[in-house]
Point group: C2
Chain length 297, copies 2
């Protein structure tokens, strides 16, 4: 074992190409609610979320194994729906389900272990250096916006965000490009929210970061946040489940569409500024402490 | 993926040495009860049960990843106890825990994915041939005897069997020796009970089996079965969780202590005889249908 607990995936040495391995669980009532998500989407989402950890290491998916805990009340048709979603993800990511386990339980859960092949060096959380740029793929806060729309029963306000929360995509191609680039120095996937995941990178790398609030790439439906009584800035900073890749790089990485949102520096901690150098306080920002997410890394 | 769902583990091609991968879950109230098992034993047992599937493939353990679903009511001290048991198994099997995941849930469960290196060819369920002998390591029915003693609150009658149920051992060394032998043709671990696991081998191999009831290796405390209102023969035939290796071989395999308990044959199905060629009926045997175990392979 070359890289162990504490990164997105563990890396096993000894093969021609090192293997990366990671595990993720989705529990009904904690990670998903069937009122908001079809069982098909639950299955698809479980695979995407697990593969996102491989993406963050720059690994190519090789296979997955899936352990299902199934309540007695689950109908066969519901199980098939769940399995259909898993099969859809298997096809999309060309990631065969190599094995599985079925167990009875009171609570539905899906635990997915994914194995990847490491073509280049693994992208660790610990490689960011002072002076590196902080980049993120795609947009931030979109999944959280979708979740809030669902919670408030107002999906018409942000249909794309709802779909984004329901059906996230692991950034496999981007992860492979980052691992192949000499410029990328660290990466993590944004599953717990930008602030929390960035803090993991800073801590592992022994650096701090200056974050530019005005640069955060917000989704097309950002305008809906106000109507949903939310702050788009807060969603972008603290909302989880976007499964974008957050990475450190000396300069932009060719072939990876990403936005530069900050700069790593020697001083520890994460500081936020407004784009004109004026500091923004994280503490007083409404909502930031009220997401109630628990770190599950 | 060279061998997929339907064997004890999946085998991945493409590495210098193929990898074997398997996943197993233990759910509180379904697979264990804290009244009978310390959390330390729960953790240790989860790793042993998962590694038993690698043993049945003839794989050497490389690493494991463990996903825990933890109820809010679980105390920190209880979590540490569980982790201690996992660590103990990690040391015993020289199988590093390479990664993990913690999630909240209402029901405690441990899902263990194990990765092994395949030095020789994998031992499949499908290789048994008519004429091969059927062998089993260790004893059969001991774990079931221990479980009954626990259920009846009479552990003093069969203390070794209780310990065997609480703390099973994966037969890693035996599996490696079998995979290295030219004589062994198929293997499975006895997790669901002899009859059920033998049926898996027969079905996968397209053969039947003649089983000698008088040859079944019963535990030293077999005499306690009567006092516990159980039949030792039934426990040996249908009791699960022994985690012994059941294998087919043309002749005894050097270095693997095992008992020959039958012979594979062309006629499908499993027939039982009493050692003098007199058939025994499985259907009328008391208790056989009342174990209520569900197949989880």
């Amino acid at each position: 074992v070359r890289v162990s607990i504490g990164d997105d995936a563990a890396v096993l040495a000894g093969d021609e190409k090192p293997s990366a391995i990671s595990v993720d669980a989705a529990v009904e009532g904690v990670h998903f609610d069937r009122a908001w998500l079809s069982l098909r989407a639950v299955g698809e989402r479980a695979i995407s979320a697990a593969l996102s950890d491989l993406a963050a290491m720059g690994s190519r998916p090789r296979c997955a194994v899936v352990a299902l805990i199934l309540p007695d009340a689950l109908l066969d048709a519901e199980l098939y729906e769940l399995v259909d979603g898993i099969a859809e993800a298997q096809a999309r990511y060309v990631c065969p389900i190599a094995g599985g386990n079925l167990a009875r339980g009171r609570e539905l859960s899906i635990t997915t272990t994914v194995i990847g092949a490491q073509n280049g060096r693994p992208l660790l959380r610990s490689g960011a250096k002072a002076g590196d740029g902080l980049y993120v793929t795609g947009t931030l806060g979109e999944a959280a916006l979708g979740l809030i729309a669902l919670q408030q029963g107002n999906t018409a306000l942000a249909p794309r965000a709802v779909e984004r929360w329901r059906s996230p995509r692991a950034r496999i191609a981007e992860g492979l490009a980052l691992a192949a680039s000499p410029h990328a120095s660290a990466a993590i996937d944004v599953s717990d929210g930008l602030m929390q995941d960035l803090a993991h990178v800073c801590e592992a790398s022994g650096v701090g970061c200056m974050l530019d609030a005005s640069a955060l790439p917000v989704p097309a439906e950002a305008h809906a946040a106000t109507a949903l009584a939310a702050s788009m800035l807060q969603l972008a900073l603290a909302g989880g489940e976007d499964y974008e890749l957050l990475f450190a790089a000396r300069e932009p990485v060719e072939g990876v569409a990403a936005t530069r949102i900050g700069t790593f520096r020697r001083e520890p901690g994460i500081a936020l500024h407004d784009g004109h150098g004026r500091p923004l306080s994280l503490e007083v920002a409404p909502g930031f402490d009220h997401f109630g997410r628990t770190a599950e890394k």
